[in-house]
Amino acid sequence: MVALSSAPLDVAALVRDVQTKEHGAVVTFLGTTRETSPDDPRPVAALEYEAYDSMAIPEMEKIASEAREQFGPLAIAIVHRTGRVALGEPSVAVVVAAPHRARAFDACRYAIDALKARVAVWKQEVYADGETAWVANTPP
């Protein structure tokens, strides 16, 4: 399951979605809004995301397929927020359920790395003083 969501992420629901009685391991990555920007000394008050839905969704589906091809059978949910995300709130969730933990860790990490590099989502930092700046991802 992949989605863009303007509402807060329901991580427990995502875990329930991917979990089955054949899956012994569930690994969840949450990217949360940090107060400290890598690019700007001003404290960050919020993030504002915009997405190109009709490219972002197919790319997230593609990443999910690649994870299954590369690591073996697994269930994966990838959801990214759009709009304003408050400090400390998750902006992205990647949840992977797999029979064993190595696969779940590897696939989760693969998916978030790929999402950050490839998915058509843009991030604007909103500073405490009301100013804003667009921030691009750098390779990990």
């Binding site: 190109y52 590099a117 991802n137």
Partner: protein
């Protein structure tokens, strides 16, 4: 006998989407643009960026998509195309 208009240039209409900083600088997120038939993405870019140094400076980091697929600047556009001007992504 009727004369043919020699310089009749057919026009195409495309939809241009702009994101993030490019959306702010261009002043639109989505707009229909008329171009001469045979125009490339590079030509579209030149037309939109012309005279705006800040936009021109973003060319190297901007990627183009046509109808949901990343494509090169020399791609020739067709009427009805949806073109996206995409700064480096920042998801996560």
């Amino acid at each position: 006998m009727a004369t043919q208009p020699i310089s009749a240039v057919s026009k195409i209409t495309i939809r241009v989407l702009a994101f993030a900083r490019l959306r702010e600088l261009l002043g639109f997120g989505s707009r229909d643009v008329e171009l001469a038939e045979g125009a490339t993405l590079d030509a579209l870019w030149k037309q939109l960026a012309s005279g705006n140094g800040e936009i021109e400076g973003l060319r190297a980091t901007t990627r183009f998509a046509r109808n949901g697929e990343l494509v090169a600047g020399e791609t020739v556009l067709r009427t009805g195309d949806e073109v996206a001007l995409m700064p480096p992504v920042g998801g996560g």
